[in-house]
Subunit: 197 residues, 2 copies
DNA sequence: ATGTTGGACATACCGATGGTATGTCGAAGA
DNA sequence: TCTTCGACATACCATCGGTATGTCCAACAT
């Protein structure tokens, strides 16, 4: 009952998500029509509505793809060895790089809260990128590397700070130099929270 | 050549912006139709397109209104007396309160970067709320209250951190307690940047 | 072998919405 | 009094998200 020769179903679905991902990144959610998406994916709206319940669902699929890709990269970096502090620093560096990618920036940071609604975005992020940041903060507190600040709030604030830093880098005339500044500043902030500093 | 008895023109324009402001705050930009806006303002689309070039322009008018209102409140608070540090702290408290207002949060923080585009939003903010944060950071550096970090980047990061903090408060089950946590954490961050700390 | 079912699409169509083109009315100037 | 013009109102159009329907074909059942 499943599949003919090959699994056309999966490739069609993948083509749609890929197409949506690219167009949403370039033109944004509102600026991208379903016709444009299906045209790029070389299918029709019938296929789209067969696989997804609508434009939002397709957006969330693209969102999931970007997040999953980012997650994989981040976990592999943060699971390395070293102290909690060292891994947190490595994680920050890595996360800022993730934030610099156009797809992540536009889809995950900017559009998702608007398209999905902030609450839903927050829930999704709870187990994704934000989850990693939070875990890092928890590890730092547990290791008594930083002052015992409220974890949830500290993680949220750090999360927001990293986004802002990445955006600043992305739109800077001298990204290299700005990236160095962001790095310095974030480290300074973290150092400020450090114990006995 | 201008106005009949009274200035109907101005009241019509104001009604449209007010209506747009309220509806954009409640339903968001995409979720608000022009028909709904003009209906609430008791005018027609003809009036809307006479005063504004389109939906985006109307949004920006609403954006300006929210920003101007917020600016006035903030400047009056931050222009008080005290040291640069004291005024910065007062400004932070005040700005977090501003961020908690639904209109500011939804229109200025969430939707504007998407609707206007991030670059345009940044430019607009340059002389508005962000300008105040930046000025505060500059004052702190000038007064040698904090470490000589790059002003632009530090201000951006602080700006992002404040937004994240405000959002956390707004969606918290216990806003009062969370607000206190945010306050503590932001102050901790600022203290971390402080000289000789 | 043949009829039947159901998944994987394609095509045609509909309603809502942003935007435009045109019409109207009344006040101010010539 | 005639014309002009600003401040709208009305009618209309094109695009777009979503739906309803049709088609094709493989996997069963008989």
């Amino acid at each position: 009952m499943r599949s003919r020769r090959v699994d056309y179903t999966e490739s069609t679905r993948h083509a749609l998500v890929e197409s949506a991902l690219e167009l949403f990144t370039k033109r944004g959610y509102a600026g991208t029509s379903l016709d444009a998406i299906v045209k790029r994916a070389r299918v029709t709206k019938g296929a789209l509505y067969h696989h997804f319940s609508g434009k939002q669902a397709l957006f969330e699929a693209a969102f999931d793809l970007v997040e999953t890709t980012a997650m994989d990269r981040l976990t592999s970096i943060m699971d390395g060895d070293g102290t909690a502090w060292e891994r947190a620093m490595a994680g920050i560096q890595a996360y800022v790089r993730v934030c610099l990618e156009p797809s992540y920036q536009r889809i995950v940071i900017h559009e998702a809260p608007v398209v999905m609604g902030w609450e839903r975005w927050r829930e999704a992020e709870e187990h994704r990128s934000y989850g990693l940041v939070r875990a890092a903060v928890e590890a730092l507190v547990a290791a008594e590397e930083i002052e015992p600040l409220p974890v949830e709030v500290t993680a949220r604030i750090l999360f927001g700070a990293l986004h802002a830093g990445a955006e600043t880098i992305a739109s800077a005339t001298d990204p290299k130099a700005t990236a160095a500044d962001v790095s310095r500043t974030v480290v300074a902030v973290m150092n400020g929270m450090r114990r006995g500093g």
